[in-house]
């Protein structure tokens, strides 16, 4: 224990006064002859024991008063709560302020407000001759301002510090701060760490910071710990730490399911925690989760969207002390309804022999956003192609020049064209009429084996390579890939080698090197060619498990909706990379608070990137003209580690920094709020009151 005004302790000698009065009071009582002395004697005998106790209590109370008052005036302080008293002379000081997400934790006021106060208090405690600087600590600390004596500038710097959404790297910040102190000619260094001391922000398995003295010697700086959490053992928190979105075709068209992972970071279990699913800010569904102490729980909520488009989906818990991590937002692109014209070149009353039967069934499967319209060739050529998002030519004869031109114009304007071949396709006629839309000219029909041949299974052609990186084939990994590779081809069309013009992508190659799938962008549109037939005449793809997803993804790719389904996963503090359409030129991403994050093109790649992302939530991407690019909108999420508010104990911190250099100040719990001297005064007042009561009795 230390005393701010130790001279007042001499006042405690006054506590001897009652004893001295008792011992040396020789006042002669006045002798009085009294007739009724018998009654005096009786009364004295009757009250003797009570009077002895009363006198003893009076003596103790008076002594207590005379002890408490001078001790209170001496302003005692416990050693564990002592301030940053400089024991080794003047020291250059760096005040490191933690800006982790943890400091947004609130109990009335936020920990960050307390951090500001603590930092200012630390500056006030410094002697005027001590140079100082302020180090706002983030995940990637910025260069530190040089040491200075101008306190106003430092106070202003503290006011400018904002709480972040990440886990600050206190180890690195302390190192940076220690290096900043190297400039000082003073022999001593001091680091003031204002933090909540969460385990995620400060790692104790690495070495503590070391500074360099004026002569180049290594110095362990004095470390003053200012705990903004006021000694709390735990900072209870729960958070949505993950969110996943996936289509749920089993629930209908445009139905999606969202799986949220909720984590309880407190030692108390939590029951029936409400989880809300919000779409564009409107609650559409609710669920409840039970959370075990320090446990995790998942909840899946589904929603069927009325229409396609880009939507923000948020999983939200009731706000707790740290509300920032109680929501998690995703931006999903719900496919719009696609209109596809199937041109059936070989209709048949027998469904399984009909050229369009399998394709129509695949496109119209439950959950598919496609509305397929099937026409035979003659009827189809009279259709206005511009009413459709894509046209599937299934084993059709070469159309007239007029239709061919209309198809070319349709593709050029952004339509998707699928070409499935068959025995109605005459390569020469097709090359002549539809050469403008074909990625490669057709050469000749090749028959690997007759379908009815006894050795058809072994001699049929098979896919040997598939471009799994292409959006259409991305899902065909693992066993799905085997399903694709096991397709048997009996007949297929060979293509001319690639000539000049726009490059085409061969997405699948048969074992003889012939292309099976060719994709190409033409103008604003896309063309996809399948070298075999879409019925069972030339291959058995339509009865393979890969057929349905393949057809649906081809339709999606042709209409441009497949790209939109790729969800961008971005994290606060990180850089985001977006892949815009060739026609899009994004300029910046606008954060929920309105902050703008510039997006710059990545050299050599058709992507743009920007960051670090300042806050969680939905970011809208805007081009240079100020037009929002809805398809590029994305959401940034928090690092789950930032939500873990587990704290280091005081002993662990003292052990890591070194018992000889560490001090704790401020935030010392209740003692800081109610100093000892106030308790002593209170004791004196109470003792005085009781002394009065005893004297009256």
């Amino acid at each position: 224990m230390t005393f701010a005004n130790p001279l007042f302790l001499f006042g405690t000698l006054a506590a001897l006064i009652p004893l001295l009065v008792h011992l040396f009071d020789r006042r002669r009582p006045r002798p009085v002859p009294f007739g009724a002395i018998s009654f005096v004697l009786k009364s004295q005998r009757r009250t003797a024991s009570r009077l002895r106790l009363k006198r003893l209590l009076l003596y103790l109370l008076r002594t207590l008063i005379l002890l408490a008052v001078p001790i209170a005036l001496a302003r005692p302080q416990f050693a564990s709560a002592q301030g940053p008293v400089t024991t080794r002379g003047l020291a250059a000081t760096a005040v490191v302020i933690d800006t982790s997400l943890a400091l947004r934790w609130k109990d009335g006021s936020s920990l960050f407000d307390a951090a500001r106060d603590e930092a200012k208090s630390a500056l006030r405690d410094l002697a005027p001759e001590e140079p100082a600087t302020v180090v706002p600590c983030t995940r990637t600390p910025a260069p530190v301002a040089p040491l200075g004596f101008e306190r106003a500038r430092l106070f202003s710097a503290i006011d400018d510090v904002k709480p972040g959404y990440e886990v600050a790297d206190l180890n690195r910040c302390l190192e940076v701060a220690a290096r900043a102190l190297d400039e000082s000619p003073l022999p001593n260094r001091r680091l003031v760490l204002v933090s909540a001391f969460t385990q995620s922000s400060l790692r104790l398995e690495v070495s503590p910071p070391v500074s360099t003295g004026p002569k180049g010697e290594k110095l362990k700086p004095e470390v003053v710990l200012r705990d903004v959490a006021k000694g709390r053992e735990v900072l209870p928190n729960r958070a949505v730490i993950d969110a996943r979105a996936e289509p749920a075709p089993q629930l209908g068209a445009r139905a999606w399911q969202f799986t949220f992972t909720v984590r309880n970071y407190s030692p108390e279990p939590q029951k029936d925690v409400e989880l809300r699913l919000e779409v564009n800010g409107e609650v559409v569904s609710k669920g409840f989760v039970d959370l075990s102490p320090d446990g995790t729980s998942q909840k899946t909520l589904a929603h069927r969207f009325a229409q396609g488009g880009t939507v923000s989906v948020t999983g939200a818990l009731d706000a707790d002390s740290l509300s920032e991590d109680d929501t998690r937002t995703l931006v999903v692109t719900v496919p719009k309804e696609l209109s596809v014209l199937l041109v059936n070149g070989a209709p048949s009353p027998q469904k399984y022999r009909d050229e369009a039967y399998f394709t129509e069934a695949a496109l119209s499967a439950p959950g598919s956003p496609v509305r397929a319209v099937t026409r035979d060739a003659d009827a189809a050529w009279r259709e206005d192609f511009s009413k459709y998002d894509a046209v599937f030519l299934l084993n059709v004869e070469a159309p007239t020049d007029e239709v061919a031109r209309a198809l070319a114009a349709f593709v050029d304007a952004g339509g998707g064209l699928f070409i499935g071949l068959g025995d109605r396709v005459d390569p020469d006629a097709w090359n002549a009429r539809l050469g403008a839309v074909l990625p490669r000219k057709l050469r000749v029909l090749k028959t690997a084996v007759e379908p009815n041949a006894p050795d058809a299974a072994s001699r049929s052609a098979r896919l040997e390579q598939v471009a799994l990186t292409h959006p259409v084939l991305q899902p065909f990994t693992g066993t799905a890939r085997e399903g694709l590779l096991s397709v048997r081809f009996w007949r297929y069309v060979l293509f001319e080698s690639e000539a000049g013009g726009a490059a085409s992508d061969v997405l699948g190659v048969l074992d003889d090197g012939a292309p099976a799938f060719i994709a190409q962008r033409k103008g604003k549109g896309r063309v996809f060619v399948f070298a075999s037939s879409m019925d069972r005449d030339w291959c058995d793809l339509p009865i393979r498990t890969a057929f349905l997803p393949l057809v649906q993804r081809v339709a999606a790719w042709l209409t441009g909706t497949l790209d939109e389904r790729e969800m961008v996963r971005a994290r606060v503090g990180d850089t985001v990379t977006l892949t815009p359409e060739p026609t899009q030129s994004p300029a910046f991403a606008r954060a929920p608070s309105g902050l703008e994050v510039p997006l710059t093109p990545t050299p050599g790649v058709a992507t743009v990137s920007g960051g670090p992302l300042p806050e969680p939530g939905r970011y809208d991407v805007v081009d240079a003209k100020g037009q929002a690019l809805a398809s590029l909108a994305f959401a940034a999420t928090l690092d789950p580690a930032a939500s873990d508010l587990s704290r280091h104990g005081a002993d662990a911190l003292a052990g890591w920094f070194g018992e000889d250099v560490v001090k704790t100040a401020g935030g010392g719990g209740e003692r800081e709020k109610t100093p000892v001297w106030t308790w002593l005064i209170a004791v004196a007042v109470v003792a005085f009151f009781f002394e009065g009561v005893l004297l009256r009795r």
Partner: protein
């Protein structure tokens, strides 16, 4: 005129003080009840040799021609004894007169009144275990003897009411009025009871319980060494600490004395040393119907 202690204390001697009180008492009585001897006719009896001739009823002889003797009630005067406690504690007084002074004045006044109506009055002093008695007589010159005796009485020794009670029981063969003036500070439990037992012997007992204002109120503040006025006892106390307990004890004592007197069918009069004594006697006489 109120004959309070302050006024009487300015008068010297029991005789003067008693006279002043007597005058106060007499002026306070509306009608004197003392109309000559209390001799009343009882019956006639036929003369027989040996009867006193002075009691012959000559009127009856004239009427009946026979000798009749008039017979009367027992023809004696009232005998009263003033028993004054002259123990050490009776010397205490804070209002000008000590309790003993007050007792003397009251005894003298009552004696004066009794002799004035030709009753017999005597005085008994109890002091230091001694019993000094001036027997009751009805002669007018006896008053001076009584006053001198009272005047000479000085406080001495402990209160010994029990001895006084025994002595009185022996020396009072006839029914008498016994007026007891004391503070009754006798530690023996049966002292008062034995004194009041005189009532059982057909004596008329009147108790004048003398108390001082300081004994009633205990007006002490500073630490005080209380000295006994009868023996060597002494005690140093802080009066404020025991005041409550003292008042409780003393109040209980006063109640016990009064209750004992009432239970024994004795007159009880509590006399404060600071109150007018004529008022005390008038109150006493009024309760007895205006006569002794």
């Amino acid at each position: 005129m109120l004959l309070d202690a302050q006024t009487l204390s300015r008068l010297t001697g029991v005789k003067v003080r008693a006279r002043a009180v007597v005058e106060g008492v007499l002026s306070g009585l509306h009608k004197s009840p003392h109309q000559g001897q209390s001799v009343e006719f009882a019956e006639h009896k036929e003369y027989a040799p040996g009867d006193e001739l002075k009691h012959l009823d000559w009127k009856a002889y004239g009427k009946f021609d026979r000798y009749y003797i008039k017979r009367y009630e027992h023809e004696t005067n009232l005998r009263a004894l003033m028993v004054v406690d002259a123990s050490g504690s009776m010397a205490y007084g804070t209002a000008g007169l000590s309790k003993l002074d007050v007792a003397k004045v009251l005894a003298a006044t009552l004696s004066h009144l009794l002799l004035r109506q030709q009753d017999g009055a005597g005085v008994a002093l109890i002091a230091g275990g001694q019993f000094h008695e001036i027997p009751p007589r009805a002669s007018a010159t006896h008053l001076q003897v009584l006053l001198d005796t009272l005047d000479a009485a000085a406080p001495l020794g402990t209160t010994d009411l029990a001895t006084a009670a025994d002595t009185l029981a022996e020396k009072l063969p006839r029914r008498s009025l016994v007026c007891i003036f004391s503070d009754f500070f006798d530690d023996r439990a049966d002292a008062l009871k034995r004194l009041l037992a005189l009532r059982a012997r057909k004596h008329d007992v009147a108790v004048f319980h003398l108390v001082d204002k300081a004994e009633l109120e205990f007006p002490f503040d500073d630490p005080t060494l209380f000295l006994s006025m009868e023996d060597e006892r002494r005690i140093e106390v802080n009066p404020r600490e025991i005041k409550e307990s003292y008042l409780e004890e003393f109040g209980r004592f006063l109640g016990e004395v009064k209750d004992a007197c009432t239970a024994a069918d004795c007159d009880y009069e509590r006399v404060r040393t600071d109150e007018p004594l004529d008022q005390v006697l008038l109150r006493f006489l009024a309760r007895r119907g205006g006569k002794l």
